[in-house]
């Protein structure tokens, strides 16, 4: 129980709306979990409850054996949890490089630095002093990923990586994903494209209306079962 | 999802408490209207002042609590009303009582260009912008040598005489105060019950609602600002007759006509109709006991306002209403389920 991430029966609210009705999951170190579900199923709220942007009203989140339920976002990052938020949400008055530096501000040791990131995404090196939001969508997504990696996390939460990006760009980014997760890092991947998400993950969890409708390994369930769980039917 | 059949609930706009409150208010109004025959002139004076603050607080609350227009410059219109009344009476020989509505009308006209200027400022900057306007009016008044310049002017005895003998003068000023106080309250109450009022409340409570109601809220705010300016100026005109004197610093005082008013509304409950009434009562009670302490009194009011804003942002009334479900002036619709114990 002590290793990795364990979410037990959490209930969380999005504003006044109860978005999660007792959700549980477990993720061992080095694994990738695909989190799927229709719009409004509670995927983003689950990620936010893990990284501390939403404080669950009930249940427990433990990380590396430590209870982090309700711990604010400014502290979870120091424990090695990073979020690549939906819509990227780059700091618009910061340059590309400043966005990255800010990501590394907590000063955790690890493989990622400006240099290794620029090796991974050379285009960011070229554009490092431009305002982050002046880049193309795909490049902005690289900055958002880089910003999260700069904290040398042990767990990265990717929220809607491919949203609003061209297919070719999505393909590029997913091609880099093994290099990122290959460093022994765990990841939770929220993705509209179920096939792509399942293809990149060793386990999956499907949410419907704030509850777990199906979970397991991608190969264990038929497409029809997953599809039924997705739509909550 | 829980299902309700149509017969299992009823919708009403009034509550028993509100009907009783309405009846009591009318009886109270009648008794008060007869006050010149049964009360001392000190009472008339105090009651008149109460009505003035009630009216100012009710109007400020309409702007800040329902349309998000937080003005720190309503003293602009209080002073303007006083100065316009004196100008009309002194230079045009208009009867001062008749000058009151004229001053209100003129001030509303002046508020039209003012609104188009200050509405360019957003949110908190609107607040300070409105303050600048009040300062401009005050400085212009201080330059008006015909009205006594910086030291102000008293209403000459010849003009005061037009208001009748002492009893009649005091009575009519009191009646005016009563009419303005009750009138402003009724105006805001009826407005908030109207379609526009419901739209304003909905927008305040939820951003999404605004578009679906199909009311152009920008122009509603504009019109309300101008209406409130006119009414505030009428109150200012009345104040000038209560004091029989205007001076720039007193007529355009930010403390007297805005700070106290803000404290009244915040303490009583911003964004509720009852709040300003409760707040005015609390304000006058505190003042009776603490006014001798001057600065301490203001320190206390300021602290009280901050504590309430942080701990119970809906004020005394909002706190009570939430706790006990009270409502004296229901502006929304209530759904009552017969089988549910509380309501």
């Amino acid at each position: 129980m002590s290793e990795g991430l364990h979410v037990q029966d959490i209930e969380s609210f999005y504003g006044d709306f109860k978005a999660l009705h007792g959700v549980s999951l477990s993720l061992e170190p080095g694994r990738v979990l695909a989190l799927i579900g229709a719009n409004g199923a509670g995927k983003s709220t689950l990620l936010k409850s893990i990284c501390g942007l939403v404080s669950p009203k009930a249940g427990r989140v433990t990380w590396k054996g430590r209870d982090i339920t309700g711990l604010p976002g400014s502290q979870t990052v120091a424990l090695g949890i990073a979020l690549v938020p939906e819509g990227r949400r780059l700091f618009k008055s910061l340059s590309v490089e400043e966005n990255l530096i800010l990501g590394g501000q907590v000063g955790r040791k690890g493989p990622w630095s400006l240099k290794t990131l620029y090796d991974l995404f050379p285009i960011l090196n070229e554009k490092r002093s431009q305002p982050a939001t002046s880049l193309s969508g795909g490049q902005q997504q690289m900055v958002a990923i880089g910003r999260a990696l700069m904290s040398n996390p042990d767990l990265v939460l990717f929220d809607e990586l491919s949203l609003g990006l061209a297919p070719i760009v999505i393909k590029d980014i997913y091609a880099q994903l093994p290099k990122i997760t290959g460093q022994g890092m765990s990841a939770i991947l929220v993705e509209q494209d179920v096939t792509r998400a399942l293809g990149s993950a060793s386990q999956f969890l499907c949410l419907a209306e704030g509850r777990v409708s199906l979970a397991g390994r991608p190969g264990d369930h038929s497409r029809d079962a997953i599809s039924a769980a997705y739509f909550g039917t | 999802m829980t299902q309700f059949t149509l017969s299992s609930f009823s919708i009403s706009r009034s509550t028993t408490a509100s009907r009783i409150a309405g009846a009591i208010a009318l009886i109270l109004l009648a008794i008060l209207a007869a006050a010149p025959w049964w009360a001392s002139s000190a009472f008339l004076h105090l009651a008149g002042e109460f009505a003035v603050y009630l009216a100012l607080a009710t109007l400020w609350n309409l702007l800040a609590g329902y349309t998000g227009l937080v003005s720190v410059g309503q003293q602009a219109y209080v002073g303007l009303g006083g100065y316009l009344t004196f100008s009309l009476a002194l230079f045009l020989g208009v009867n001062p009582l008749l000058a009151i509505p004229l001053a209100g009308l003129a001030a509303a006209l002046i508020a039209i260009p003012v609104a188009s200027l200050v509405f360019r400022l957003q949110g908190a900057y609107f607040a300070i912008g409105s303050w600048v306007i009040a300062e401009v009016f005050r400085l212009i008044a201080a330059q008006a040598t015909a009205l006594g310049g910086g030291s102000g002017i008293s209403l000459p005895a010849a003009v005061t005489k037009q208001l009748g003998a002492k009893w009649l003068r005091e009575a009519s000023i009191f009646w005016l105060a009563l009419a303005l106080g009750a009138g402003c309250l009724a105006f805001v109450y009826l407005l908030l019950r109207s379609r526009i009022g419901l739209a304003l409340t909905a927008i305040r409570d939820s951003e999404v609602a605004s578009t679906s109601l199909g009311i152009r809220i920008g122009s509603v705010k504009h019109v309300l600002y101008i209406l409130v300016a006119g009414l505030t100026a009428m109150i200012g005109a009345l104040i000038s007759l209560q004091k029989l004197r205007v001076s720039p610093d007193a007529a355009f005082s930010v403390n007297d006509w805005t700070a106290f008013v803000i404290f009244i509304v915040v303490i009583g409950g911003i964004g509720t109709i009852e709040g300003p009434i409760i707040g005015t009562v609390v304000y006058f009670l505190l003042r009776e006991f603490l006014a001798d302490y001057g600065t301490i009194y203001l320190l206390l009011l300021g602290t009280l306002a901050i504590v309430i804003m942080l701990a119970a942002p809906k004020g005394l009334w909002g706190y009570a209403a939430e706790r006990f479900g009270w409502s004296l002036f229901p502006v929304g619709y209530r759904i009552t389920f017969p089988d549910s114990g509380k309501d």
Partner: protein, 287 residues
């Protein structure tokens, strides 16, 4: 030559107004807060300087060594203790709480120091002047202007070239995501308020050397600072200097026509710019 002199003096006074405005602009930029008590805090700094001078016998400008950290610490505490609780999207709480604070400061100062007007004596600095091309430039106004330029340049540098400035900008852009970078917004805001009141301390001391002050001067200073911010354009620090200068010049020209028109002329200039260029003369491009 007279008109040139009037304009020049106005420009130099504008430096003081820019000092009033810089702090306002800073905290609005970082946390969208408009602090109604800003002017009263300037006056508070003046009184603190007066007490420091009484205790230590230092000349006013040297007293800044104490006044700046004291005000900055007060700003940090004020933000963490009170103002942070008011921030959450709704317009009313910060506005009304800072308004209450303004009344408390005014009456608190009145209770402690009475309504008598005071002044800080800077000795020879106040009368020293140099004549350049037939125009006499006072050392004090020149110093005031130079300080304003230095303060704004310093803030600009801090904002765009330091980790703290990065934290300010990031929190202003997206406070929620900034949290995930390890930035606790309550602390970031407190540092911004500390910095703001540090600047306020400098403004307060110059105000107190230049003219008489009393507990009720605050609102007027708030308004001048606010006008300078709007004239210069929201979110532009150098703009506040331009705004201050325009305000100072307008007041100077007004005063040269009739002393009663000094303040009025400044307000009129502000309203004119509001009517013609509602976003100010130098609005920030990405605003």
């Amino acid at each position: 030559m007279d008109i040139l002199n009037t304009i020049l003096q106005g420009v130099l006074v504008g430096g003081l107004y820019a000092l009033f405005a810089a702090g306002l602009s800073l905290i609005f930029g970082v946390m969208r807060l408009v602090n109604i008590a800003h002017g009263d805090l300037i006056v508070l700094a003046a009184y603190i300087a007066m007490e420091v001078i009484k205790l230590t016998g230092l000349p006013p400008l040297a007293a800044l060594v104490f006044v700046v950290p004291v005000m900055a610490a007060f700003g940090y505490a004020l933000q963490r203790g009170i103002l942070n609780r008011t921030l959450g999207g709704d317009l009313l709480p910060p506005l009304l709480v800072s308004f209450g604070l303004s009344v408390i400061l005014q009456n608190g100062l009145l209770a402690v120091f009475t309504a008598d007007s005071r002044k800080l004596d800077a000795g020879a600095l106040e009368t020293a002047s140099a004549t350049i091309g037939g125009i006499s430039i006072g050392l004090l106004p020149a110093l005031m202007f130079a300080t304003a330029v230095a303060v704004i340049a310093g803030l600009q540098y801090l904002f765009y070239n330091t980790a703290l400035g990065r934290a300010f900008r990031a929190t202003s852009d997206d406070a929620e995501i900034a949290e995930l970078m390890g930035l606790d917004r309550r602390k970031v805001y407190a540092w911004a308020m500390a910095l703001c009141l540090g600047v306020v301390a400098i403004a307060g001391v110059f105000l107190a050397i230049r003219s008489n002050f009393d507990p009720f001067m605050g609102p007027g200073r708030l308004i001048f600072g606010f006008e300078a911010v709007i004239i210069g354009g929201l979110g532009n620090l150098w703009g506040t200097l331009a705004g201050g200068v325009i305000l100072g010049v307008a007041q100077g020209i007004g005063a040269s026509i009739d002393p009663g028109w000094q303040i009025l002329a400044g307000h009129v200039a502000f309203l004119l710019i509001l009517a013609l260029k509602p976003r100010g003369l130098f609005p920030r491009m990405d605003g």
